[in-house]
Each structure stands twice: as C-alpha cells, then as structure tokens.
C-alpha cells in the first residue's frame, strides 16, 4: 500500500488506521466482529473493499464449478453404470484405464495439455479468460455469448476430470455390489425385466452414496478451481486468491477461506436434507417395524 516516497510519518499513520499496532487479541476480535457482519476490510493491493471484490469474482467461479460438477456427475454416473453392468469388455477396460489417468494426473498438467491441443494446435477454443460476458445487474454471465460458452469448455472439463473419474469408480463399485444383493435376485426371480432391474432397482440404490460424495465434491471443486483458474487465467475467486497470496494480501485470503468454509458447511447441510428426501429408511423414524 506504500510506495517508495511514502514518508515514515505516513507509514506510521497508515499502520495506526489499519490497526496493525494493536495487540494480537484485539486485532483478532475485531476481525471476528467484522467478519460476522460480512466485512473483511480493504484489500492491501487493490485498495477496494474485499467483499466487493469477492462478489465481483464470484459469478465466474460459480459458473465454472457448476458446469464442472454437472459434467462430472452426469458422465461419471453414466460411465460408472456402464462399467458396473458390463464388467468385462473392451470399453469398460478402456474407461477404467483412462479413469486411472484422471485420478493420477495433476490438474495443471491436464489443463496445459488441453491448451496445447485445442488452443495451440487445433486453434478451436480460447486458451484463457472468460470471453465476452453479459452483466445482468448482480451477476455477470458468460453463458449468453458464443465466446463465453467456448471459453468455459476447457477449464470446466479440466476441473471435472478428477471428480468424474472418482465418481465412475464409486458408481461402478456400488452397482456391482447391489447387483449381487438378495433383492435384485428376488426381482430376477419375479421375472422383472433386466432393464428395470438395472436402471430402476439397482441404480436408485446405487446413487444414494453418490449424493454424499457429490456434496463433498462440489466443495473440493471450488478448492481445486484455484489451480484451474490460474492455468486458464479465469477471472474467478481462485485466481484472485493466488494473486493475493503473492502480495500477502491478508484480508482477501481470510475472506476467501471463510467463504470456502461457509460453502462447505452449506453444501453438507443440503446433502443431509437430500439424503432425508431420497432414502425412506431415514425419513420415517419412530414407527419402524409396526404390525
């Protein structure tokens, strides 16, 4: 916040106004009180209120995370079901081999490979940024322009890969286990069609644990988005955070971390409610086993 020609008096005055001379516990309790009101102070580097910066960057990150989560969940579940049902076969082995790559390759390597392939060699997708965005008052969206839509493809696919492979393996294991259970055997013995057994009886049961994982996933996606956003110069919160780290911009870092913690708690809360709605065994309590 200070330049070369700032005088010693001005520096001292700034320290005083920022409250840096107070004892630690005073500083900390002030932080708690302000944070509870949603005020995280002023960015040292950008000299603007942190909450304003976060709100400005939030849409970019949320859009990226939502798209990646959808890609991860939908493709992950589809491929998981496929590999769980067709346990042997070329395609299943292929998907599982690829999923191993997805788990083990770091996000930034995949990101850079994608940029090299699609942006540099093929030149069909942009390598950085959000493209043109449309401001609709409280939110800026890239979904309404062609360049915005093109821009989100690479980062969202990159971000989703790790989670997707994880979901594939989870769904596959669940499906294989459930297809061995007695109630599936009993359904077969009643002559229920194979399709109904697989996609109605087995899949519904198999998705219950996926919901838990998906909840934690979305939190992890936000956290992982720091790397993806940096690789693709995506103007989201993760990118803001990395910049803040470089300049030791503590107000931004603390605001970001508090925000992430809040998101995690909220998502887990929503997951618990979803669980309650989906699994009848949790829903009805108290009057079990009557009659």
């Amino acid at each position: 916040m200070v330049g070369e020609e700032t005088s010693d008096e001005e520096r001292a005055e700034l320290r005083e106004t920022l409250g840096l001379m107070d004892p630690i516990h005073v500083q900390f309790s002030r932080f708690i009180v302000n944070a509870s009101k949603g005020e995280f102070g002023i960015s040292y580097q950008l000299r603007r209120p942190v909450s304003e910066l976060i709100v400005e960057r939030l849409p970019a990150t949320i859009e990226l995370v939502v798209i990646s989560a959808l890609i991860a969940l939908i493709t992950g579940t589809l491929l998981g079901v496929y590999t769980g049902i067709n346990r042997k076969g070329f395609l299943s082995d292929f998907v599982l081999a690829i999923s191993l790559l997805g788990v083990s390759l770091p996000t930034f390597v995949i990101g850079i490979l994608f940029i090299y392939l699609f942006a540099v060699i093929l030149g069909i997708l942009p390598s950085f940024g959000r493209g043109e965005v449309v401001d609709i008052g409280f939110w800026t969206t890239g979904f309404l322009t062609v360049s915005g839509l093109k821009a989100i493809i690479l980062p969202s696919v990159t971000l989703s890969l790790f989670q997707m492979t994880y979901i594939i393996r989870l769904v596959r294991a669940e499906m294989m286990e459930i297809l061995q259970t007695d109630y599936i055997k009993f359904a077969r013995a009643r002559g229920i069609s194979e399709n109904s057994i697989k996609y109605k009886h087995a899949l519904k049961n198999g998705l219950i644990p996926v919901i838990t994982i998906a909840g934690i996933n979305i939190g992890t996606l936000i956290a992982f988005s720091i790397i993806t956003e940096t690789v693709f110069q995506w103007p989201g919160m993760g990118f803001l955070f990395i910049q803040a780290v470089q300049f030791v911009d503590i107000p931004i870092m603390s605001a970001y971390l508090v925000f992430i913690a809040f998101v995690f708690v909220m998502i887990n809360f929503i997951v618990d409610i979803l669980y309650y709605l989906i699994d009848p065994r949790i829903r009805v309590k108290g009057d079990t086993a009557s009659g």
Binding site: R190, G191, H201, P280, R281, D287, A289, G291
Partner: protein, 560 residues
Amino acid sequence: MTFLKINNLSVDYQMRKETVYAAKNVNIEVNKGEILGLVGESGSGKSTVGNAIINLIDEPGKVSSGSVILGDLNIHENSESIVKYRGNKIGLIFQDPQTSLNPILTVGEQLIETIQTHLKLSKEEAKNKSINLLKEVGIKDAEVRFDNYPHQFSGGMRQRVVISLALCCEPELLIADEPTTALDVSIQSQILELIKKLTKERNLAVILITHDMGVIAETADRVAVMKSGNLVEIGETKKILTSPQENYTKSLVSSVPPTNKKISRFVIVEKENKNKKENNIKILNRWSKKEIINQDLVEIKNLNKSFDDNFFTESSKNSVMAVNDVSFAIKEGESFGLVGESGSGKSTIAKMIVNLFKPSSGDIFFDNVCITKIKQRSELMKFRKQIQMIFQDPYSSLNGRLKVKDIIAEPITLHNPSISSLDLNNYIYDLLESVELTQKSADRYPHEFSGGQRQRISIARALATQPRLLVCDEPTSALDVSIQAQILNLLKDLQEQLNLTILFISHDLPVVRQMCDRIGVLKDGKLCEVSNTEDLFLKPTHEYTKELLRLMPKIESIYN
C-alpha cells in the same frame, strides 16, 4: 398327476482348477397341491436345485444337463425363454425377508411392477389386485400398508409381503428357500400355515427347501433328502422320518433334538468315535476342579437395561427396556437355559453377566460378590477369568489374522503372564484335544476350519482360563444339525467332567430341553417363568410358554 418333473438335473461350477458339481443327476417330481420338502445340510445343493429350476444360478455356475418339465412345457429349452416363466409360472421365496425387498421402493411399487410385467392390467387394476393379495396373505390395513416401505414392516410381515410378491402373477409352482429360518417360532408357524393354506386354495405345487426337520415333519407331504449334490432318498415324509433306508438319512434324523423327551447324548451314526471309551479330557489334570456345593453361583437381582437413543437427545422418550426387572439364580454345576424370541433380551443379559454391558440398574452376584459394583480393573479381571463366553457366529468371533494357537494363548497369557512357552504349548495342545481337535490345528488359521470346528476352537478358547461359568449365546444356531449334535455332546461331556456351570441361551426349545436342568423364559425383556426343564415342557404355567411349546415345529408330529 405329476406337475413338475426334474430330470437328471446337474449344476456345475467351473472353477479355475476344477469343476465343482453342486447338483448331480437330480430327479424330482412334484404334484399339484403337494408340498415337497427338500432337506439337507449346508452345501448339500438343496438351494442350488431350487434356483436351477428357474435358471437363476450365479456365475460361474450353470445348468450343465437335464431338463425341467412344468406341466407340458420344457422350460429349460432355451435360456432366453425361462425369463418369461419367472414370477409368472414359478414363484420364489428367499430366506431373509430383511434383504429380499428393495429398500427404497414402496411395497406397492414393487407389486405393481411385478404384476404389470406379466399380466396386461392397468395400474389401477394392478393396485386393486395387489391390495387383495396383501389381504390374502394376512396384512391388516392393506390399503395403507400398500404405500409403506419395506423397513416399516416387521420380519414376519415382510415375509408375507415377499410371499405376496411371489404369488402376485398366480404361478403354479412355488419354491420356498428356507422361508422361515430367519424368523421367530411364533412367526414361523404363521408363515408355514399361510403357505399350507395357499397351497390348498390355489392348488400350488410347492418345493419347501429347509434344514429344519421339525418344519418338514409338520408341513411337507413328501421329502427329498440331499447330500453333497446327490439326491439320497425321496418318499413320503412319514416313511422317510420314521424308517429311513439310507445311512445318511438315519444319521440326519437321529441328530435332530427330540422335543418330547430328554436324551442323555445324541446318537451320532455316521462316524462314531472309535476311541469313544478313552474320551478323556486332557485338561482335567490341570483343572483346579471345584467341588459342587449346593449354592448359587450366579444371582441376578432386579436387572434392568435400557438402550437410550442418544446421549444428548430423546433419552427418556425413545429408550427401550431391553431387560426389565429380571431376577434369577444359577446353581453351581447346573445348566441354566434362557429361551426367548429375538428381541427378548436374552443376549443382553448374557452380555451383562460377562460384563460387556453395564446394567442400567440391578445387581449381578457371582460367588456372592456383586460384580456390577466393582470399580477396580484388577478386581474385575479375577471375575473375567472365571466367566467365559461362547458366541453364536463361529465365523466372526475368531480373529482371522491370528493362528489358532495365538487365539487360544491370548487369554492364558493375559491371566498368567509368567507361563513358560513350553508349558503354554502343552496347555494349548491339551485344550485342543479336549475339544476333539488335533494338535496340528494349532498352526492353522480359522478360515481353514469348518463352522463346527471353529465353534470347537471358541470352546477351547473359553476353557483356557479355567472358568467356572460358561455363557453360551446360541452356540449352535449357525450350525447344521449333525454338527450341532456333536457340539452339544461335547459341551455336555465338558460340563460333566469339569463341573462347569453353564448359562445356555437359545431360541431353539428342543435344544434347550436336551441341554438344560432349569429354564427361564423371556419375553420382551421380562422373565415369564423359571422352572425345571421337564416341568416346563410337561406342565408350563405361563401363557407365553404354552404358546411357544404349542408352536414349535415337532419332528414327532409325524407319528400322529
């Protein structure tokens, strides 16, 4: 008139190294309106035959030869067409009602789907049909229960739902695979009555697969006995049970604990011990044998135990009294039986006596010392040494990663850390031989043993600390009858020679009759009555006891 005809049916499991024959050239015929009992011990192939009829064998097994003729249809002609007979012509009921219904679909959804798969009915018609079916199998408020999920039904009700599902498309053949094994006696008799009633009313052909000779005696018209994939004998139930021709059938029948009298030992026909005479129990010379004095070894006073739902919330509201004001005493050297249905609190009492649970209130005296009030660990250890437990499931009660000798050595070294390794080894060998296992078993792992042998290891482990009281929690209910007979004989011998006091917990009344001097009957955590075994069986006083005795399947009923 023969309705179902199974000709030379064989089922193979192609393994990497060898082919396992789960069923070999089985020939069975079943008539309409008739219940055929299919009995055998575990691994005899009885379930395999049941599943093979509708070609529902798990990979890598397959029906390798033979044909199944249903009426005038050869249903095994091609493997595709069998699917349309499942549920439609043939209904199947599985053993465990807890797991055979899809937990996240309502009973109604599962019924309607099954009906609409086979019959051309609208959703409304299917619903009406389902509700009528639910009523027929004895479910009250069928209209409301139609929309319930499986977990909202109790075990017996769930089995009724399973039966309604198996029957909803009016099959002519019903295959019931151990339909009552997971149920209590009173529920069992209801379900068996229901199956009998439906057989008559709908003129069904029924194959009842079970290991329980009592069930067979009371329900089946004819019996087929199987052993390791082969059909041993088939014929009228009465003839098979009273004058069996084959040796195997003879030994099977003689292993069944009689319900109408007490016998001193079970006769084991098949492999009678050659050295029966010198059946000495080797640990006897190490045993500091207590003289039996006529006094109470265990005394239980006003014992209560409730399981609270949660420490913080709902503590009083939802607490279930698992044990409610129970008092009884066990004399030194006697066998005391505790019987009751599931949830009656019998296992909870056992666990409190061995100090695995703390009672909510009440006292347990052992040798006139109140063990529930002991605070010091070293004091408690003295009692732990004298009270040992044998658990129900021989598969999960032994640590699979330890060798048998380490399993048995653990309690010995715990109570006697200074024992020399030579002495320890000899002691382990003596213990193993006392439970009729070879010394070689010491160096093997539990998974190399059969269920009965594992239970012997459990007994050896329990005897290692030279206890005075042996708590046996359903020690034989996971075992086949012939193995059960051997284990019960062993327990009797050990008790006689070592002056053990035994608390024997079981749901199986005939077994308890053979094993116990006195019996306590539990219901919903309350003790109904305590009396001498013969008195209890001949002139029970409590209503509940009378009911239990009336309902238990009796193999002797065949004589009537």
